[in-house]
Amino acid sequence: MPGTINVLYFARLRDKIGLEAESVDLPDHVHTVGDLLRLIETRSDAHGDAFSDRASIRAAIDQQHAGLDAELGSAREVAFFPPMTGG
């Protein structure tokens, strides 16, 4: 597992956190997308607010849809966002 990972935010999450992306150092106990989420939401009140409505959080690992229980493995990029509204 790499020591750091690039985390991207979109839509409401980007607005609340005020960042498009940030680099996050991964402690050893972070294995899944859900672990990463619980790590990130403690970074600031804004982060906490952004992730407070768990039901509306979706994620992708290396640009593929992923559930919160998905293993990060050797992922280089994880994105968090609300449900998509394309089309």
């Binding site: 979109f10 409401r12 980007r14 992708a60 640009q63 994105a79 609300p82 998509m84 509204t85 089309g87």
Partner: protein, 161 residues
């Protein structure tokens, strides 16, 4: 050979231009064996909401957007029997009356082409990493919420195929 074209940029999707790219390609089955009997096109347009909407602003996930459109097109080719699919999805600022997305599908017979366009649109709603924000004439903005009915349509596709 099946043919897939995906395009993601700030340009207005143009159904006719996409159709030409799908059907004029000199080395695709759709173009040269003259087996195409049906071309279905769908254009999604930004509604003006009775003059209250100033613009839609579409945020997207670069890289993943293109990959997802390609995946959706490939999946739909195999589930519907369409012979070629093109998807052009816009991001950035879109004014009322302007197109947001164009989908074109070809097939030997009508039903597969129409079904393919409809299927792609169902998947785009839930699987394509675009987020719409409404900018209202009164200065307010609001993110568009995903519709439960979109998830239901998406799930129905997944069950069927």
């Amino acid at each position: 050979m099946n043919e897939i074209i995906v395009q993601v940029d700030e340009m207005a999707p143009d159904g006719a231009a996409l159709t030409a790219r799908l059907t004029d390609a000199p080395d695709t089955e759709a173009g040269t064996n003259m087996g195409t009997g049906a071309v279905a096109t769908f254009l999604g347009i930004c509604r003006g909401e009775g003059g209250k909407l100033e613009a839609l602003e579409l945020q997207h996930y670069p890289g993943m957007a293109e990959a997802q459109l390609e995946r959706i097109a490939r999946q739909t080719l195999s589930s519907t029997g369409a012979t070629a699919i093109a998807i052009h999805h816009r991001h950035g600022r879109v004014l009322p009356g302007e197109p947001i997305v164009a989908v074109v599908a070809t097939s030997p017979h009508r039903k597969a082409a129409i079904e393919a366009v409809d299927t792609v649109m169902d998947y785009l709603k839930t699987d394509a990493p675009f987020w719409k924000r409404e900018r209202w004439a009164n200065g307010e903005t609001s993110w568009v919420d995903a519709k439960p009915s979109d998830d239901a349509a998406r799930a129905a596709r997944a069950d069927k195929h």
